[in-house]
Symmetry: C2
Subunit: 547 residues, 2 copies
Amino acid sequence: MADEQSIGDYIIHRLLEKGVGHVFGVPGDYVLGFFKKMSESPIRVINTNDEQGAGFAVDAYARVKGLGVACVTYGVGGLKVVNTTAQAYAEKSPVLIISGAPGMQERQQHPMLHHKVHTYEDQIKIFERLTVASAALTDPERAFGEVDRVLSAVLAYKRPGYLELPRDMVNVVPSNCELHTPAEPVMFWDQGALREALAESLALINRSSRPVIIAGVDVSRYGLQDPVLALATGAGIPIASTILGKSAIDENNPLNMGIYAGAIGDERVRDYVESSDCIILIGVFLTDLELGGYTAHLETRNMMHISGTEVRIGYHSYRCPGFELLKSLERAQLRRHDEARFPRAEKHEPLDWRSLPNEKITAQRVFRIINSFLDENMVLIADVGDSLLGCTEVEIPGPNRFISPAYYASLGFAVPASIGVKTAFPDLRPLVIVGDGSFQMTGMEVSSAARYNMNPIIVVLNNHGYGTERPMLDGPFNDVAVWNYSLIPGIIGTGRGFVIRTEEEFGKALIDAGNYEGLSLLEVLLDPHDISRELQRLTASLGKNVK
Amino acid sequence: MADEQSIGDYIIHRLLEKGVGHVFGVPGDYVLGFFKKMSESPIRVINTNDEQGAGFAVDAYARVKGLGVACVTYGVGGLKVVNTTAQAYAEKSPVLIISGAPGMQERQQHPMLHHKVHTYEDQIKIFERLTVASAALTDPERAFGEVDRVLSAVLAYKRPGYLELPRDMVNVVPSNCELHTPAEPVMFWDQGALREALAESLALINRSSRPVIIAGVDVSRYGLQDPVLALATGAGIPIASTILGKSAIDENNPLNMGIYAGAIGDERVRDYVESSDCIILIGVFLTDLELGGYTAHLETRNMMHISGTEVRIGYHSYRCPGFELLKSLERAQLRRHDEARFPRAEKHEPLDWRSLPNEKITAQRVFRIINSFLDENMVLIADVGDSLLGCTEVEIPGPNRFISPAYYASLGFAVPASIGVKTAFPDLRPLVIVGDGSFQMTGMEVSSAARYNMNPIIVVLNNHGYGTERPMLDGPFNDVAVWNYSLIPGIIGTGRGFVIRTEEEFGKALIDAGNYEGLSLLEVLLDPHDISRELQRLTASLGKNVK
């Protein structure tokens, strides 16, 4: 399998084997040779304007495909994706960063090569903090094994990994390459812990009078939709989702209650969840936003928390593979709780978005209109801030069709993310909701979308500043620069732009954008203090820590 | 001095005392309170679109002002300036990063606050690798002292420092604040080393038949123009500059030879320097680019290397304050070498840029025209790649009027840097030379320049890709997206745009831009393989490590 392969060849071979058809990045001289090698392989290189754009794009691609790769040069490239890799770490996105590096030979001869910070170790030491595994491929004899180790860890933990590839190693053929067999990691668990946890969980669920499931981010990362639905339908348990877990379970499922996120979500769902005597959290992060800025009130004694490496019940925990337990539960003797009547989050009334009144548009109405416009051929991508909060109540017509960085919350994610999503799913259309502040960070990556003939519909909510911050503490620092977003298609030579002041204009622009094959950019003009219902609910709680 | 001051007040007080009138940044909820405090103080906050822009802007500001401060939020802000801080470290730019952080109180209560990567230590641990001093201000009683320590180290070493300010510490008044006296660092040196090094240096210079000085980056960072000129004029020694040291010494000085950078520079200067029997390097980094991609041939036995902490003569070295030695040299008995006839780098012939022929424009001609257009009221800012290489032979009419990241070489520096330079020197006009690839990374920061009524003239060299990489190894990955740069003033609602195909058009656009009060954007269309003379010289040498 690995006969006569160079280190560069081996990396490409392993990526293809894992289904990675695309690599995002920006070239530089320390990584040019590997770019050349990729461009001569079945892998397609997707260039972005800036490495930051590649970092966000690959994060989105990894979330929906199960593995994503970004390739950058040393220093000036690698250190530009520190923030995006941090987000991938925090939100469990299986991203592999491959960074070029100065050759081992030239390092010996010359101490001060360009793009170096201080020592040749700085970059990998930084990435050690942001990844579950990292390796500098400086020793040919160990290189293949190191590639395997890093790749396996990324796939097992759904968190980033880092490979550093000195430029004079790309074409080196290790002497032991023919003997190499890719190793898959084996995890050891005490089966006793799993058995005991299963017995207690089962008893607890059967004994409970009103259980609920809260589906979190790992349901989508680990593809747990089937066992979660089997448990829910088998025992008649309704399912709420966290914001990060939104749409992991098809929102049209009859057992779906909607979002649970403390004060952000629907009050009846919140009351039902918080008064349950058996709250089954599956792959949930208990972050501040997921808990509605700590407005959530979950009693530890009523909680069963199932994660990949642990099952926590009340105040005690079992170290065991929780997702194995989940799969066992579906085969177990479950009592049906079908007597339970559960509430569903209030849905936006469907409306005819093709025929809207000539009235000034508001943030709330944007989300209601989007709610009706969205169809099963689209993926909704929300940037941070009100874009995200307003989208929490948009009903997603299909599983895994919603993406947003709801924990680490790095502004500027959405536009480059649409490139990652479109690359992964060429048949789906990205619908991006992004604030003006975020758009100014990375929005010009629309030109990368244009370069690859992509067709996102990008809705820029222009409220002239950082709208999430204004209710906390305002000042001129919350204003952003003036841009005429609708003229951007002129800059990039393709696409259509719209300026929207009324609902009628929004509806017409959506008709045009929907019928148009290229990309569209819809600038929606909002008042600086016009915010969504969800943000209004959250504001008081978030503001109290800001003085 | 520090009576009843809170930690936030004390930081502002110390910054003002050090002459910092502006802070660059983007707010976020973990740093909003400190932004508010700054906005109520004499400090002026300069917002950029993205934190990366703030990072480059503050680097440029720090290079020309002696201290620059950027303020960002936790995680999503701080980790976006990792790359720009790395550049400030590598190229000695005295930048202080102040990052907001979750409050100490809320950390206790809640483990998963937004913008967190993994642990609350990750960010400061990353910055420890990029700074000479860092502190998390978590303990009120130690906070003032920590601020002093970090600030002193930045000023002493001309390298970045990092302060992390939890949001619930901004308004805390330490109990010991009235007793606090800012401490200034004291460096201890053995005076014997300095005396011996001085005696040997003096003897060597006096004994040498053809000494030369090479002025490096520290001449501008430590303000060593006077002692360097005193030594040069006192002993009749000609001065060459490295690229990072370009224009630290006024290029009109009669002793100025021009750039020495191996194959990049003029051949006669190179021969003269390399055959000298006493090469006095002052504050020079021996980087690959400074050495013309290692085409430079300097004999260690003929070198005297003076830096802030060391004097190296031939193969031995003294640990002593080299710049003190430099100041002693000007008072010493120096033999005049005025018999020495030295070459000067061939200068571009002056030309009448107001009246140019109707001929297709080339990269070489752009730099020649710029050479005549530039006046003493402008600062030339070159981005990385051919923008930088072509500028090395542009004559700078005034000291410290040239800025470029010639070692760490992070693309995207120049446009945001112009914001930093203009903020520092409101009476000077930035002239930016930037490639299309770099512009697509950070060029939209022109909108931040517009927001503050700045008037840069930005020349985009559009050769449709990464022109420095094409001669090394080409492929579609070296192409960049299509942009119509001249239409950007329409997006930002101000400024003028030009498309330039001929010399005549370039000249006319420069006349217009020079007469116009706002910002101008000149897109110069070049052939993809049209490169400067300097890059041609360098290409063969840089390409040999790329396979």
